[in-house]
């Protein structure tokens, strides 16, 4: 059941999505280049790199997969690691889904397929003030998707040329955590948020230390959510 929307509403929701994602599209430019260059170093052709970006569209699991990449391609291990890295996506739509109940299920199946971290965080952010509609989510997703596809392809084509530049030396690799820090602060609610950050941070670092692979993301997420649930008792009724 979807509330009937007029054409101007659709256009303005889409435009608001475009406006919200614009700074992140620019911020993601160097990340796409870096990923493409790393993929080229591991022997992926530009076509394969762009195919992966368009089919998977998940920066985190693509970086992890390229880390594991070898000849012959360990496709089972890569699939499992992609599953582990994106396990966090199980929680994301579960949380956002409570705010998009007015959207038809078929449309949700399309929109949620593009649910990169940034698209999801900006949708959650908007849900605090207004309605998260299908046009809004696609306004967020489409530029970000096309940007990722094109920039990883450019990075793969330039390949070794870019590798000589050494992204770490210039700090470009830090664009990824910087985006996440900016997104986190958009959710800041004082002590409550600080407690979640502390629990998630410690659990993730401890897990990464002792357990190989990408389990640390799940461990940190569970720890932060648990702290929120435990400390909720006195304020849960107010919300």
């Amino acid at each position: 059941m979807e509330a009937s929307t007029t054409a101007p509403e659709v256009r303005s929701d889409f435009a608001e999505g475009l406006r919200a994602i614009a700074p992140l599209v620019i911020a993601a430019l160097p990340i796409g280049l870096v990923f493409g260059a790393l993929a080229a170093q591991k022997g992926l052709s530009p076509f394969e790199t762009m195919l992966m970006s368009s089919v998977v569209f998940a920066g985190g699991s693509q970086f992890v997969a390229i880390d594991f990449w070898a000849d012959p391609v360990p496709w089972v291990a890569i699939t499992i690691s992609a599953l582990l890295v994106t396990i966090r996506h199980v929680l994301m739509p579960a949380s956002l889904g409570t705010k998009t109940r007015q959207m038809r299920f078929g449309k949700q199946l399309i929109a949620y397929g593009f649910l990169a971290d940034e698209v999801w965080a900006l949708s959650e952010h908007r849900a605090r003030k207004g309605r998260v509609s299908f046009p809004f989510m696609m306004g967020l997703a489409l530029p970000f998707y096309l940007n990722w596809l094109v920039m990883t392809g450019v990075g793969a084509s330039l390949g070794t040329l870019l590798a000589d530049l050494d992204p770490a030396k210039w700090g470009f690799d830090f664009a990824f955590p910087a985006i996440f820090i900016g997104l986190i602060m958009g959710f800041w609610q004082g002590k409550k948020t600080a407690a979640i950050l502390g629990a998630s941070g410690l659990a993730a670092v401890a897990c990464k230390w002792f357990v190989p692979g990408a389990w640390y993301i799940a461990a940190g997420a569970v720890a932060g959510v648990a702290v929120a649930a435990i400390t909720a008792s006195d304020e849960a009724e107010v919300v």
Binding site: Y112, D166, I181, I217, V225
Partner: protein, 106 residues
């Protein structure tokens, strides 16, 4: 041009596997949601998800990589209190480069 389009079946299989895994996790929460009632602690837990997940992904980088990354993260956090996202990213990248030079990490 043939190197541009070069590929093999194992690579395609890996890409397909990653794509299926990612899509399934992205829509699974929608289905899961139909069986969960949202009140009190459940609701507080779900509302904590964004912050908990984002922090978990970057925690090893900003807390356990080295002094340069941790210092850059603190500067970026302060920038995030005042600047729009793009400014935050610029501050993050520049401070990471400077602190790495300072601490001799690269």
């Amino acid at each position: 041009m043939e190197t541009f389009f070069q590929t093999d079946s194992l690579t395609l299989l890996a890409i397909l596997g990653m794509g299926v895994a990612t899509y399934l996790t992205r829509i699974s929460g929608l289905v899961l949601l139909r069986f969960v009632e949202l009140r009190g602690r459940t609701r507080a837990a779900l509302e904590a998800v964004p912050v908990a997940v984002l922090m978990s992904v970057i925690a090893p980088t900003i807390l356990a990589t080295g002094p340069a990354e941790s210092a850059a993260a603190i500067v970026t956090l302060i920038a995030a209190l005042r600047l729009p996202l793009l400014g935050v990213v610029v501050v993050g990248v520049v401070s990471a480069a400077l602190f790495r030079m300072l601490f001799g990490a690269v």
